[in-house]
Symmetry: C2
Subunit: 212 residues, 2 copies
């Protein structure tokens, strides 16, 4: 079973590495990072490079596609080579998945037309522009399409996916091996639970970042 | 504020990237990946490479040290250059932290003598061998030393640390920006909650892996 995670400059590291950490423990699975060309791609915070072992042109099919997001996704979406490759992967995939604004890449590739999907809470209004039906759940499944909410939600999505592919016992073993019994020290992980001034602070920072 | 994450071949990706994703959003902080020499290091599952931008020799001080673990930590601990460098970083750090079996590296460097600490649940008995006082909490704090349990616990530790450094509002903003409102699809993230057969399965796989 081949699982491919496409990467690009300006991706959010945890969008890709969260699912990788889970999916790479799926028995019999091989996870490959692919990009326009082989080499190191910088994540959005600038100080981490992830290495793509494969070029898109060298990956002609996969069983699971997992598309991360990040501020770089808009520029990546402008690369028609990427969007065509996403369509090619999707044509043969058993599961097509995304994390955070990775769903906007699936949308730009035309793969979410009429499908329920989710993205980072700050980008939900952009999903509808691709013909998707935005839902605010942490993981949204529509047929073979599983999209996860922002950044850390990819871990939950990937664990769910391991359960679908290999059954609950294997998924629980993966969860235990990464000791995923989260204890966030605060209750601010969604705009529904975060204090109003924190929601406004994050919105303001996002606007400033988008404008620069 | 300089935050350094040392990496090595055979590290567990999420041990490093979980805290990175959180700490890199701390206002005014610069996060750097360092290693024996600059270049790409392979994570334990083999198919991901993380790039170290700095060599240990080029980082002479830091404010926060965050040491990941993984199956490669035992071999990394054999490198006295690493252990000496960890001591050097610790001598000037405001916070010395670890994720998963990264605490065994801190222990091997002699930094956990008489201190409360935690590691991956499968490795708890090894901690005492370094003179540490093993505690089974998800994040264990003893003075400036904060150690996190297995793999995913680094996210919780890093969020707690952001709260300590920059206050709760900033930490909540970081939590919201990565939408960290976890919803694990199963309740098997600790040996206390996982079904007994799942605990035994993970123990068996660990024994087989250690023997090969």
């Amino acid at each position: 079973m081949l699982i491919v995670i496409p990467i690009f400059d300006g991706l959010t590291a945890l969008d890709a590495v969260g699912p990788y950490e889970i999916l790479s423990r799926l028995p019999g699975a091989q996870v490959t990072f692919a990009a326009a060309t082989r080499g190191v791609y910088r994540t959005d915070q600038g100080s981490l490079g992830l290495h793509a072992d494969e070029a898109f042109a060298d990956v002609s099919a996969c069983d699971v596609l997992c598309v991360p997001g990040g501020p770089g996704q808009a520029q990546a979406a402008g690369d028609h080579g990427l969007l065509g490759w996403l369509r090619e992967m999707d044509a043969c995939s058993t599961w097509t998945t995304s994390v955070c604004t990775g769903s906007l890449l699936l949308g730009a590739a035309g793969l979410l037309q009429g499908r329920r999907a989710v993205t980072h809470w700050l980008s939900m209004d952009l999903l509808a522009g691709f013909g998707a039906l935005p839902h605010s759940d942490r993981v949204v499944v529509d047929g073979k399409y599983a999209t996860a909410a922002g950044v850390s939600a990819g871990i939950d999505m990937a664990l769910w996916l391991v359960g679908q592919i290999a059954g609950q016992t294997v998924a629980e073993a993966v969860q235990l091996s990464v000791e995923y019994a989260p204890e966030p020290p605060f209750d601010a992980g969604s705009p529904q639970t975060a204090p109003a001034e924190v929601v406004e602070l994050v919105r303001r920072v996002a606007r400033v970042t988008a404008a620069t």
